[in-house]
């Protein structure tokens, strides 16, 4: 059971480039999330999804897009990378009542925009 898998682990982008951070989970969870963690800061919610085809903005959605075409996958898209998007990105999925409504996190993607 792999849990939540994020790819890539590291990436360096030039300003204005685009990329997609991949996230997949094999626990059949309906809820999925994208967070970013800036150095010395907490986790900020970017977008989340309550199921396939349904997404909603979090605290810091500007500059990002998401889609949820399947239960398993929740990719995060950066269209025009900016230095302010340098951060560590974490994907998470939510177990329901059977697992006490807790979030399961991936190991993160470290992104630098230069």
């Amino acid at each position: 059971n792999a849990g939540v898998t994020q790819t890539p682990k590291f990436r360096i982008l030039k300003i204005g480039q685009s990329m997609t951070l991949q996230c997949t989970q094999d626990m059949n969870h309906n809820y999925m999330y994208w967070y970013r963690q800036d150095p010395g800061m907490g986790l900020k919610l970017i977008y989340y999804s309550v199921g396939a085809g349904i997404t909603d903005k979090g605290e810091v959605p500007n500059g990002y897009n998401v889609s949820r075409s399947t239960t398993e996958d929740f990719p995060l898209r950066l269209e025009l990378a900016a230095p302010s998007q340098t951060s560590v990105y974490f994907c998470a999925s939510l177990g329901g009542a059977s697992t006490n409504e807790k979030l399961f996190f991936g190991s993160g993607t470290q992104l630098s925009v230069l």
Binding site: G42, K44, L45, E101, L103, F104
Partner: protein, 114 residues
């Protein structure tokens, strides 16, 4: 507006003593709270949760206390061990409203001294 606050960025405790990490929230709709531990270069891992219908929850060395009137929760670790050295995050959600939108605090870095 920071809805979940951890006002102590860092905490140092001697091995064997009690560690107390605090968390405050402003949104009275929050009714489910999680604590996570994070090591460098890893994703956060779940520690313990508490529902607003309770004021205390224990799991081994970890106990979470909830004071709804003060909008305050705390995580107690007894006895503290060097392996507990990590960054601790609290998170809150209003799950009774069905959103499962978890907001995280800024974290407290705990250092347990041998």
């Amino acid at each position: 507006d920071q809805q979940v606050k951890q006002n102590s960025p860092s905490l140092s405790v001697q091995e064997g003593r009690i560690s107390i990490l605090n968390c405050d929230y402003t949104n009275s709709m929050f009714d489910y709270f999680l604590w996570y531990k994070k090591y460098p270069a890893e994703g956060p891992t779940f520690l313990i949760s508490i529902s607003s219908i309770k004021d205390k929850n224990e799991d081994g060395r970890f106990t979470v206390f909830l004071n709804k009137s003060a909008k305050h929760l705390s995580l107690h670790i007894v006895p503290s061990q060097p392996g507990d050295s990590a960054v601790y995050f609290c998170a809150a959600s209003a799950i009774s409203s069905g959103t499962y939108k978890y907001i995280f605090g800024t974290g407290t870095r705990l250092k347990v001294l041998a």
